[in-house]
């Protein structure tokens, strides 16, 4: 995982609430055995109509969304299935951070393990971001803050360990492997 210290980008806004991981990436794209190349499938059924034509109304398809790395979404983003393909697809598409008032547990966990930053903000900040799509903001992962165009800074909660791993680009498997002796001791004590 590459270190992820700061993201500065314009935002793209999908205001829908309860966006589930089936919408982020539909099940028919899950027969892959790799992590790569899932960006083409992200929000596929929202980005296209049923005949496969581009849906120009969908926020990600609008010209100003090009290159945006920060997604602002309605409350309770990422609920549903545990498929890690959801953060893989968002990252492959170019999204680096997701902002909402609530982000579902498994999706948040999966995101943190892949360098997609889940940012939970208060209602007022959320409202402001929803109403002002395309503004440039900065997500400072190390400081756990969001800086808005008027220089207002908003803190967001993030697990200290997960943040450390993100900022340093550490993968958590390495940490777990270092615990091997303790794991063995645990197994022996129980048997």
């Amino acid at each position: 995982m590459k270190p992820m210290k700061e993201i500065r980008s314009r935002t793209v806004v999908i205001p829908t609430t309860d966006i589930d991981t089936d919408q982020i990436i539909a099940a028919r794209f899950l027969t892959t055995t790799t992590r790569e190349g899932l960006g083409a499938s992200v929000f596929f059924d929202l980005r296209h109509d049923r005949d496969g034509n581009i849906n120009t109304n969908f926020p990600l398809n609008q010209p100003e969304a090009k290159g945006c790395q920060i997604l602002v979404a309605g409350n309770n983003f990422g609920c549903g299935s545990s498929r890690e393909h959801a953060p893989w697809a968002l990252l492959d598409y170019g999204i680096r951070a997701v902002i909402s008032t609530e982000i579902a547990d498994i999706f948040r966990n999966n995101s943190l393990k892949n360098g997609l930053v889940p940012v939970v903000v208060d209602k007022a900040t959320h409202e402001y971001l929803l109403n002002n799509p395309g503004i440039e903001i900065t997500v400072d992962v190390a400081a756990a803050t969001l800086t808005l165009p008027d220089q207002r800074t908003v803190e967001f909660p993030i697990d200290g360990f997960a943040r450390h791993c993100l900022v340093e680009g550490i993968d958590q498997l390495g940490y777990l492997l270092q615990q091997a002796d303790k794991i063995t001791a645990f197994e022996e004590a129980r048997s």
Partner: protein, 463 residues
């Protein structure tokens, strides 16, 4: 003064949680399937790692596997080259890493959350994970069971542990007697309607109360299964005699004197009388009715005779538009195209029995396609021994091989764009059962009654 979660949590801590670092939590049972594991095995291979405990790993194939009836599993037609590749890779991965695979043709193959309990591998007091959010199902046995992503699947394969912060607790107490025609599915749908699809976020739900205690194990699994639909990390029910009776004699349950010792230990697994929960909710079972969803998430749910509510919220209106339903009218009377009986929510023997009881002596309405998909090979065999397959086939329904099927629609079993599906599965998300398909979640009885009438139907009106 401990909750059930406290007891399970403490018994599995390898290193405790601190402000800086989550706990290292030991996993007693890791269930794996073909869709969420290939990338995890790739990481193991890249890093030259072994599977630490193949003996604690239970592997099967269920998600992308076909359910079209075949004479021999050699004749299976897999939906796509990539799905076939995924299935092949699962076989190769298990072979290479020394994991027993309950694959095609195996008597115990089935949906991950159906076979764990069936084999007796799911037991009180265990920590259980699977790369699948409905792992909460196993909590019905008083286990701490939760879904993980593929990266964590790799963690468990390599170390038998996950890094976790302790979740908060939510008590959902259901008291009173369930009226006739109302089942476990209706309880959990009502509970999700009550607390909302994010009401359980960050929490483990413990289901309590005499209505829960009176449920058999299969129904308890239905309740815990959908904890994730309320956003919860896990759902659990304290084990009791019902649990022990279910497990006794199952192949992977403890046997002989080990069994007695296990039961003695399991009897201590309950929340203490004065334990406190972070949040509590109560439901009155006697006031419940058959529940159906009307929108595109499981929290958009009403009693079968209640009118679809109205709201000016944009997401809410978008959902109603997708579902093509009108506020002010009940869901009954909506024309049905497909009925699906199956999934880890309602694909066990008693679920099929309930559907068959409703169907007996009736025919599936003209123009309705009804799929009955047993949750496992064993459920299939037991159902056939009871003659349920004949009831379904005589009524005009399709009797299929075991698997996830239309619950996730990734094996080719789907509803067509615009079709309305009454489904005993757990998710009515947009496109979940096929692009543009509209899903109404319901109990097996409601789904079967809807198949007979060709319209969403209150099972109590069909005699």
């Amino acid at each position: 003064m401990k909750t059930l979660l406290d007891k399970l949590w403490e018994a599995h801590i390898v290193t405790p949680e601190t402000q800086d670092i989550p706990a290292v939590l030991y996993i007693d049972l890791h269930i794996i399937h073909e869709v969420t594991t290939p990338q995890a095995f790739t990481v193991l291979r890249e890093r030259g790692l072994k599977v630490r405990r193949p003996d604690l790993t239970l592997a099967t194939m269920d998600h992308s596997t076909p359910t079209v009836p075949v004479k021999s599993f050699k004749d299976l037609q897999v939906i796509s080259a990539s799905a076939a590749g995924q299935i092949r890779q699962m076989e190769e991965n298990c072979e290479e890493f020394g994991i027993d695979l309950l694959g095609f043709g195996h008597d115990s193959r089935g949906i991950v959350h159906v076979i764990g309990p069936e084999l007796g591998a799911t037991q009180p007091g265990k920590t259980i994970v699977c790369g699948d959010s409905h792992s909460s199902t196993h909590g019905a046995f008083g286990a701490l069971a939760f879904g993980i992503g593929t990266t964590e699947v790799g963690h468990v394969l390599a170390t038998q542990c996950v890094l976790q912060r302790k979740p908060k607790t939510l008590s959902i107490s259901v008291d009173g007697n369930l009226p006739a025609g109302v089942s476990a599915k209706d309880i959990i749908l009502a509970a999700i309607g009550e607390i909302g699809v994010d009401g359980g976020t960050g929490h483990v739900i413990e289901f309590r109360g005499d209505a829960i205690r009176s449920l058999d194990m299969e129904q308890r699994m239905t309740v815990c299964n959908m904890s994730i639909e309320a956003g919860a990390r896990a759902g659990m029910i304290a084990p009791d005699d019902t649990t022990f009776d279910y497990l006794a004699g199952r192949p992977r349950a403890p046997q002989g004197s080990d069994w007695d010792a296990a039961v003695e230990k399991w009897r201590t697994l309950h929340s203490d009388v004065d334990a406190t929960f972070d949040k509590s909710v109560t439901l009155d079972a006697s006031r419940l009715q058959p529940m159906v969803t009307f929108g595109t998430n499981p929290g958009m749910v009403i009693g079968i005779n209640e009118p679809v509510p109205a709201s000016s919220d944009a997401s809410f209106r978008k959902a109603l538009e997708y579902m093509q339903v009108t506020p002010g009218k009940p869901m009954t009377g909506n024309n049905v195209d497909v009925v699906f009986i199956g999934s880890c929510t309602n694909g066990r023997l008693s679920d099929l029995q309930q559907a068959a009881d409703v169907l007996k002596g009736h025919k599936v309405a003209a123009g309705v396609r009804m799929l009955v998909v047993p949750g496992s090979q064993q459920v299939k065999n037991e159902a056939e021994a009871l003659g349920l397959d004949r009831v379904f086939k005589e009524a005009g329904a399709e009797w299929r091989e075991a698997g996830c099927s239309m619950c996730i629609g990734m094996n080719g079993d789907i509803a067509l764009p615009g079709q309305l599906s009454v489904s005993t599965s757990n998710r009515n998300f947009e496109g979940r059962q096929g692009q543009g398909a509209r899903t109404v979640l319901a109990s097996p009885a409601t789904a079967a009654a809807s198949a007979v009438r060709g319209k969403v139907t209150d099972p109590r009106t069909l005699v």
